[in-house]
């Protein structure tokens, strides 16, 4: 026994066990997220269940659960219940329904069962019955109508795209310009001018814009009318009929008829839609594109603020400051800063950045917009700066370590060639410390991407009307509110009225968030390894 202890074998085993346990947890977590997240995109078969009471249920099976014997002793052992997504929220009020396996008489996968993805009310499951144009029947009978449907949907989607274009781009631009002109007039008025020629010109501009606006509105109306031209009459599993305007439909599938190849293609299309589209239905459907953009931009802006600042601070602390008790205290303070709960930073960011700095900026440079705040409210800039504050200690510590690892001979060698201290730092020491700096960057990104709490106080929103980056000058709108994957997860998972429907989206969003973090980190790690190799002289 004593030998076992002194040889250290036991210790090594305990260490190994610890590592194994951590790995297991990490991979378990990733595995869970992957399984639940990636399954979401797969077009599931539609199952029609006939129940004992004569009714039928049509939908996708989402989950199966064994009912414990203790709860319902009347059921035989091993029986369970199924969670069916029945869709048709406009008819049934709920998307999901539990069905006891006990009650099921037969199951079928009817080839003519149709899944409609809609812009509102979630999916519809049923059969196509007729297609109408106004009151006139264009096609009737399941098969005939199904043949016509795809072209109609395609046309509707094209129309939708055009409507989007008119609404977002054209009218959006116009509104922006009207707002700018209005602010310019207000600015002139604040300067005490009443009827200067500039104001008159601006007013003429506004009148002109408003004229164009009327044209756009007319165009929009025409498009919307076209959209409502056609409608499809759908029959749910019980035979109840509903009229659905084609303009509401995004796509129609008969999943039971699709082969594996088609499903794979559909899978990829779904993935792409998620990544590139905007959210619908209180974020529980549609894509998460704005959240991805918001997260990445916020992290980049955070890095731009935190890394140079942290590096400069570390260089001062390590290379210039006299290594006395003051520097020691500063170091302790910096290390402690990294341990402060992030919500505290959020409160500080709100009080300092948003109200104090932002408020002052508004008074000085945007008085014409008051009382509406421009920078005096949460926005991506303040959120990024708050996170930069949170991560700067990490950068400082890592950079200091990087600087400490630069051999003294390099410093002396550089100085002996007539370099000043500053030149040595810039041209020899910092390049050698780059791996350390990148480590700091990696840690900062990992920390910043995962933070949600401080963002909720400083600028994140459930649904941002526009991205913080667009085609209007100055292209980067630092004052805008933004969406964030972490907050998106919280919002969908815990704030949404339709939890079951949101669940897969939560997993998918988590998966995307993890992917974003991993991608950012891998980029930095690759860069660091490249730098390290260069330092060792193996490459280049």
């Amino acid at each position: 026994m004593k030998k076992l202890l002194s040889s250290g074998t036991l210790f090594i085993w305990i260490c190994g066990l610890g590592v194994a346990a951590s790995l297991l947890m990490v991979f378990g977590l990733l595995f869970l997220i992957m399984i639940n997240g990636l399954g979401f995109f797969w077009p599931k078969d539609l199952v029609e269940l006939t129940l004992k009471d004569g009714t039928t249920v049509l939908g996708e099976i989402h989950e199966r659960e064994i009912i414990p014997h203790s709860i319902s002793p009347e059921l035989p052992e091993g029986k369970g219940r199924l969670l069916i997504k029945i869709g048709n929220r406009d008819l049934y009020g709920l998307d999901f329904r539990w069905v006891d396996e006990q009650d099921i008489i037969s199951r079928a996968k009817p080839p003519d069962a149709v899944m409609l993805e809609r812009r509102e009310w979630g999916n519809f499951y049923g059969r196509v019955s007729r297609i109408l144009r106004g009151d006139r029947i264009v096609a009737s009978g399941t098969e005939a109508s199904w043949q016509v449907l795809p072209q109609l949907i395609e046309r509707a989607n094209a129309l939708q795209e055009e409507i989007q274009h008119v609404e977002k781009d054209l009218i959006g631009d116009l509104n922006y310009q009207i707002e700018q002109a209005r602010l310019a007039i207000r600015a002139h008025e604040l300067k005490g001018e009443r009827d200067s020629p500039e104001i008159a010109a601006l007013k003429r501009d506004i009148a002109h814009y408003e004229q164009i606006y009327q044209q756009y509105v007319a165009k929009l109306q025409a498009l919307t009318d076209q959209l409502d031209d056609y409608a499809v009459v759908m029959q749910d599993t019980s035979g109840q009929e509903t009229i659905i305007p084609i303009g509401l439909i995004i796509k129609a599938l008969r999943p039971n008829e699709m082969d594996v190849m088609e499903k794979c293609l559909m899978y990829l299309a779904n993935v792409w839609a998620l990544l590139s589209e905007e959210p619908r239905e209180a974020n529980t459907e549609g894509g998460i594109f704005p959240a991805i953009v918001g997260t990445v931009m916020m992290v980049l802006m955070m890095s731009i603020a935190a890394v140079p600042f942290g590096v400069i601070a570390a260089v001062y602390l390590k290379e210039y400051a006299h290594q006395g008790w003051v520097v020691r205290m500063v170091r302790i303070a910096v290390n402690n800063l990294a341990g402060i709960p992030s919500i505290v930073f959020g409160v500080f960011g709100l009080g300092f950045f948003v109200y104090t700095v932002g408020g002052t900026i508004d008074q000085l440079w945007y008085p014409e917009a008051l009382p509406n705040p421009t920078f005096g409210t949460g926005g991506i800039l303040w959120a990024s700066l708050t996170l930069a504050l949170l991560t700067v200690p990490v950068v400082i510590v890592a950079t200091e370590e990087g600087l400490a690892s630069v051999p003294q001979e390099y410093r002396e060698g550089s100085l002996a060639l007539g370099a000043t201290k500053f030149e040595s730092i810039l041209r020899v020491i910092l390049p050698c410390a780059l791996p350390g700096i990148l480590t700091g960057f990696i840690l900062a990104v990992a920390r910043a991407t995962g933070e949600v709490a401080p963002l909720m106080l400083t600028g994140v929103v459930k649904l941002a009307p526009s991205l913080p980056i667009d085609s209007h000058f100055p292209f980067l709108h630092l004052d805008r509110k933004f969406m964030h994957l972490g907050f998106h997860i919280y919002d969908m998972g815990f704030q949404s009225p339709n939890v079951e429907a949101a669940k897969p989206m939560v997993y998918v969003t988590t998966l995307v968030l993890v992917t974003v973090v991993v991608t950012l980190n891998l980029t930095a790690i690759t860069l660091r390894n490249y730098m390290r190799k260069r330092m060792k002289g193996a490459a280049v």
């Binding site: 390099y410 410093r411 550089s414 100085l415 002996a416 060639l417 007539g418 370099a419 050698c432 490459a539």
Partner: protein, 283 residues
């Protein structure tokens, strides 16, 4: 003279024959010639600890001066005083005067970076920067504001040739300097120092980490270098000091014991301790 005989027998490659042939006509022919550096009454302190005691000596122009002595006797300290590299260490203090061409280098009017381009240094621990060979050599000239590519190319070639490295690296100038062998790296460090056209080159045990062939190459180099500049070298290798230097100083516990013609030191030292040291009786 038992001392010199001992050394010759210890090391067959070394002959002091040429030294013995010509007896010194004058007591200090070299030391009296035009001095490059004069050191007067220098005391040096690391905080409270005194490392050098009243050092006085003159280093002749375009000669090789060697500092020898047991470990910890202050050779490196003195060498690093000559380009003020000790300024980096907090709490150091120097008393006395060190003059380069008659100008006090510790004077407030002295520009330290300027001094260091005039007095270059090669270190015991080979320290090329983790950059390419070219960038290593061009580093000093670039600091001086030379930006033109052609000019830099010329300086790099000249310096590498001066360090006897050109032929070996001319095809791989833009590869990492860390891929060179130890001896090549040390010659690269010499080339790097030469690139800024120094008047004095300080070498602190430049060969202690090198194999005999690399050492021989560097020693050969010293012979050509001293036509251009003044070299001060610290070495633990008696044969090396005898082979390469014109003047030798022997240090013990921070004091200069004897400073004279290399020939005289190795054949007829006037101090007993010098003789003991070079014959290997202590140190």
């Amino acid at each position: 003279m038992p001392s010199s005989v001992d050394i010759v027998s210890q090391h067959p490659h070394t002959t002091f024959a040429h030294l013995q042939d010509m007896e010194p006509p004058m007591p200090h022919p070299l030391l009296d010639s035009k001095p490059k550096i004069t050191i007067e009454q220098v005391d040096f302190y690391y905080g409270e600890k005194q490392a050098l005691f009243h050092i006085t000596l003159t280093i002749p122009t375009r000669k090789v001066t060697a500092f020898i002595g047991p470990s910890g006797c202050g050779k490196s300290t003195l060498l690093r005083c000559l380009n003020r590299l000790n300024d980096l260490i907090e709490g150091t203090r120097l008393k006395g005067r060190i003059c380069l061409d008659g100008q006090d280098i510790y004077d407030a009017s002295m520009d330290v970076t300027d001094l260091r381009t005039r007095v270059g240094m090669v270190f015991q621990k080979v320290n090329p920067f983790p950059k390419s060979i070219y960038q290593n050599v061009a580093y000093g000239p670039q600091l001086q504001g030379i930006r033109r590519r052609a000019e830099l190319d010329a300086i790099v070639e000249r310096s590498l040739q001066g360090a006897g490295l050109w032929e070996e690296v001319k095809d791989r100038l833009h590869q990492s300097a860390l891929g060179l062998s130890g001896g090549q790296q040390q010659r690269l460090c010499i080339a790097r120092a030469l690139a800024v056209n120094p008047e004095v080159l300080l070498m602190d045990e430049p060969c202690s980490a090198l194999d005999p062939i690399s050492t021989a190459k560097i020693e050969e180099l010293l012979h050509t270098l001293k036509e251009q500049l003044t070299v001060v070298i610290v070495t633990h290798n008696m044969q090396q000091a005898a082979r390469v230097s014109d003047v030798t100083g022997f240090f013990l516990m921070g004091e200069l014991i004897e400073y004279d013609d290399t020939k005289k030191i190795f054949t007829n030292p006037s101090d007993r301790r010098t003789e003991d040291y070079i014959t290997g009786r202590f140190g």
